[in-house]
């Protein structure tokens, strides 16, 4: 019995409603709808209705299982399914897989983020050259187009893989998972992930790194942390690059650091020049200390499975 207007409810066992309608009884139901409805007014078309004289069995597709609990032939049977899931949950699950793999293999991964032209690649080239005898480094390069950066890294002597995101404005955990698989960084090494030059989007996407490192160059303006706060809030270390240019600029170093700390009171800051090498030793010390601290954490030696065998990949 239809709880809306009292007509017989339809029970259609065939999963194809068209076919089911064609095989059901063929008499018409007409009802006057002169009473008030609290829901959308529904209209019964001429056609076949099955009388509601038998129960629905388990495993039968129930066309009366909608919001109103009734089936009205000719009208859509919409249902609302509650999801309550974070939009980034898929990326975050893949990032967790990446992180478990990296930590399990004692690979210390940093996600380098900045606007285009801050000197991320030059900084990496410098670090690879300077640290050649101290640590094994591999690099995942993210750019919309070209393999230029990966070539620069390889020329400096490190293993590198280029991800071209095409139209994409950031790397995501899925891309990085595949890149880690292809690159296979050695146990106990350092992995730099150079994100697409963009101070906005990469902030939202966890890749499975140990830390985000934001690179800002002194030619960019000291209020950048205030203009693009999300990135500075997400990072653990700020490298203020191109310090060799400071004498030629009106850049207020103190104001820049104050702005960054206002957004993120826990942010560590280092002033460096990838060109002259000034301050780079402090970064290397931070790198070695952070990698050693990460390696000492007992949970990092938990189950280590290849990044791409876990979770559902695209």
């Amino acid at each position: 019995m239809c709880s809306v207007c009292g007509c017989g409810t339809a029970k259609i066992i065939d999963t194809d409603p068209e076919k089911a309608l064609a095989t059901a009884h063929g008499h018409d139901h007409h009802h006057d709808h002169d009473h008030d409805h609290t829901h959308d007014h529904h209209h019964h078309h001429d056609g076949a209705h099955d009388h509601g004289d038998h129960l629905h069995a388990e495993g039968v597709i129930n066309y009366g299982g909608g919001i109103a609990g009734v089936h009205v032939p000719g009208l859509s049977q919409a249902r609302i399914v509650t999801i309550e899931r974070d939009i980034l949950s898929r990326n975050d699950a893949l990032a967790r897989d990446n992180r478990a793999y990296l930590e399990g293999h004692n690979i210390f991964a940093l996600n380098l983020v900045s606007s285009p032209g801050s000197g991320k690649t030059s900084l990496l080239v410098r670090a690879i050259t300077d640290l050649a005898d101290r640590m094994k480094i591999s690099v995942i390069e993210g750019d919309q187009q070209t393999a230029n950066d990966a070539e620069r890294i390889r020329a400096a002597g490190a293993k590198a893989i280029q991800i071209n995101t095409g139209k994409g404005c950031h790397l995501d955990a899925h891309m990085v998972g595949h890149a880690i698989e292809a690159l296979a960084p050695p146990n106990g090494s350092v992995l730099f992930i150079e994100n697409v030059g963009n101070l906005v989007c990469p902030a939202a996407f966890d890749l499975g790194e140990a830390h985000k490192v934001v690179v800002l160059s002194v030619t960019e303006g000291e209020d950048k942390p205030l203009k693009y706060p999300d990135m500075f809030a997400a990072a653990d270390l700020l490298l203020l690059n191109k310090s060799d240019l400071l004498p030629h600029l009106d850049f207020n170093l103190g104001a820049c650091l104050a702005n960054a700390l206002r957004i993120n009171p826990k942010l560590q800051t280092l002033i460096v020049s990838a060109r002259t090498g000034e301050g780079m030793e402090a970064f290397y010390a931070w790198l070695e200390a952070s990698a050693a601290r990460a390696a000492r954490r007992p949970e990092h030696h938990a189950l280590a499975q290849p990044a791409q065998t876990q979770g559902a990949m695209k």
Binding site: I61, G66, S76, Q77, A78, R79, I80, V81, T82, I83, E84, R85, D86, I87, L88, S89, R90, N91, K167, G168, C169, H170, D172, V200, C201, A203, A204, F205, L226, P229, D230, A233, R262, I263
Partner: protein, 113 residues
């Protein structure tokens, strides 16, 4: 334009849930997008039409529920309304404020048939 990637993720999750529920079509999607979240509702809506082409959510309606930004001022020890993630306390002007709500980025529910 990370909204494109966010919407792709929304459609992927929605299609997965719709299939699990034996649906053929997604008619409506409801999202909770906080005022202090990283996503712009207008950009999400703009991307939605492009991303849903050829999916179960084609022609579906996207409903975005804005969740008001809320914070806690450490100086006033008071709950405050926030319109900016890194804003100041409207009462005392302090920067010592913590976001307590309104950074949501969530799929609430979908309507399917």
């Amino acid at each position: 334009m990370h909204e494109m990637a966010l919407i792709e993720s929304v459609v992927e999750i929605a299609e997965e849930v719709a299939r699990q529920n034996g649906a053929r079509r997604i008619i409506r999607l409801r999202l909770d997008i906080g005022e202090l979240s990283i996503a712009e509702p207008d950009a999400l809506t703009f991307c939605f039409a492009a991303v849903t082409q050829g999916t179960m959510a084609q022609d579906a309606e996207l409903e975005i529920c804005r969740v008001a930004g809320r914070g806690w001022c450490l100086d006033c020890a008071t709950e405050i309304a926030m319109s900016q993630r890194f804003g100041t306390c409207p009462i005392c002007g302090s920067h010592q404020v913590q976001v307590t709500g309104g950074d949501d980025l969530k799929i609430k529910d979908i309507e399917i048939n």
